[in-house]
Symmetry: C2
Subunit: 255 residues, 2 copies
Amino acid sequence: MTAVIAIANHKGGVAKTTTCLSLGGALTEQGFQVLVVDLDPQAHLTLSLGFRPEEMRHTVAEVLLEQQSIVAVSRETQVAGLDLVPASGELVILDKALYGRPGYEFRLREALARMSPLYDFILMDCPPSFGTITLNALTAAHLLVIPVQCEYYAWHSLRSMLELVTLIREKTNPILRYRLLVTMFDVRSRVHRLVLEQVHRVFSSAVFRTIIQVDARIRESPAHGLPVVYYAPKTRAAMQYRALAEEVVATLSSA
Amino acid sequence: MTAVIAIANHKGGVAKTTTCLSLGGALTEQGFQVLVVDLDPQAHLTLSLGFRPEEMRHTVAEVLLEQQSIVAVSRETQVAGLDLVPASGELVILDKALYGRPGYEFRLREALARMSPLYDFILMDCPPSFGTITLNALTAAHLLVIPVQCEYYAWHSLRSMLELVTLIREKTNPILRYRLLVTMFDVRSRVHRLVLEQVHRVFSSAVFRTIIQVDARIRESPAHGLPVVYYAPKTRAAMQYRALAEEVVATLSSA
Ligand SMILES: Nc1ncnc2c1ncn2[C@@H]1O[C@H](COP(=O)(O)OP(=O)(O)OP(=O)(O)O)[C@@H](O)[C@H]1O
Ligand SMILES: Nc1ncnc2c1ncn2[C@@H]1O[C@H](COP(=O)(O)OP(=O)(O)OP(=O)(O)O)[C@@H](O)[C@H]1O
Ligand SMILES: [Mg+2]
Ligand SMILES: [Mg+2]
């Protein structure tokens, strides 16, 4: 059974793309077959695996328009066991073009359902907005990972993010579960420590135990087209994303 | 003559809101009358001035729907000389509702043109996306400030941001000028120093000389409802945003 995971938060710059890339890498390292899907018109996930988004002839846009299958547009990457469905800037137009078409929220879920179970995990990187593309990802997902930065604005964005989860559960995906992941954590920051306490107090068991701390090597890995577990395997960030991968596997098998 | 400035970048988390708040504060400190406009459904600018977005009865959404004037929805803040046009979550719907209506891109510009010149500066905080709301801001602006983080993904997002500027100049706003602002700069980071060199080499005179460095007090200021120049006036970040305000004034008067 393929586990489908969305990585989403409309707050910008909280490490959605970094988490999708790093978690994907950590899962393939453990021998799982993984597909990562880039749903952001910025196409940073595509970029971070060494591709040039402007050169992608077939992207996820065609899957959402029901012109191509997932398998037809997916590509192998330089990481064994990690395939990519690329994105490009044209996704910007799709966000409006899809809106209002009957059943537009189910396009991605239906496309994934048509695939034979080639992968153990499918990870989807979402843009920092609440548009039709993010709705598609939340409708298709079994688990939603919400990366959270322990800062004032990011803390406040959680409320509307969880309102969206409630809405999605009522309308299109009653089985959707979510977990918060604390990212870019700086132990020296008083604000980070205070907000972390609030996150644990308010969300308790919905928060992954693994915390991803700030790490300079994470900033370098996308320029090398590799997840941090392959680019800098002995670093703290690589260890933390490996620990996250184990927690994700445990969460999904405990259904 | 009121100077209209948009603060936009579809890359998330690069300090758009922080810059709008801090620059607005630094300009009022110099005696200018300033209006800040929150165009993000996350409503973080509204939040950072001490308001609760869910309690806002009148927001910028009504201005874009031509139901209310700017003056009717604007509110005074606890900072003398700094008024706010608030936002709320309902802006999410507006992004789709506006699309396709004839002349939808000009709604904000027309609303600002109808105002008598009460303010010296109008600053608009944009969401991390290319939707109809950001198009409205870029169509209305004389100057676009693009906050840039010196990291791999943010560097790559600049290309599509500048393609958008070219498009806006051709279609709706031929006088639009832009400047890059380096934000959240960490002098200890090798990646930051390398990307900064590229930014200066490629964009040279289009980059503000002022660089905003990483500063813990910046993270604290929104929780106190104040721009950093009022919350922590003696800090490096406050000095840097004051220097930016002077550069912005010089840039606009040198038309
Ligand atoms: N643990 C970490 N330590 C240091 N830097 C990090 C870490 N995680 C992410 N970053 C850096 O922070 C920046 C923001 O991360 P990223 O782009 O992955 O966030 P995002 O949520 O995908 O952003 P967007 O909202 O634009 O899609 C990137 O430059 C990334 O390299
Ligand atoms: N110079 C700085 N030093 C330290 N922290 C900063 C600095 N500038 C911004 N921040 C913090 O970084 C985070 C991101 O900044 P901010 O929310 O202003 O970015 P944004 O571009 O408006 O994000 P979004 O794309 O979600 O609208 C915030 O928590 C903010 O407090
Ligand atoms: Mg991203
Ligand atoms: Mg913002």
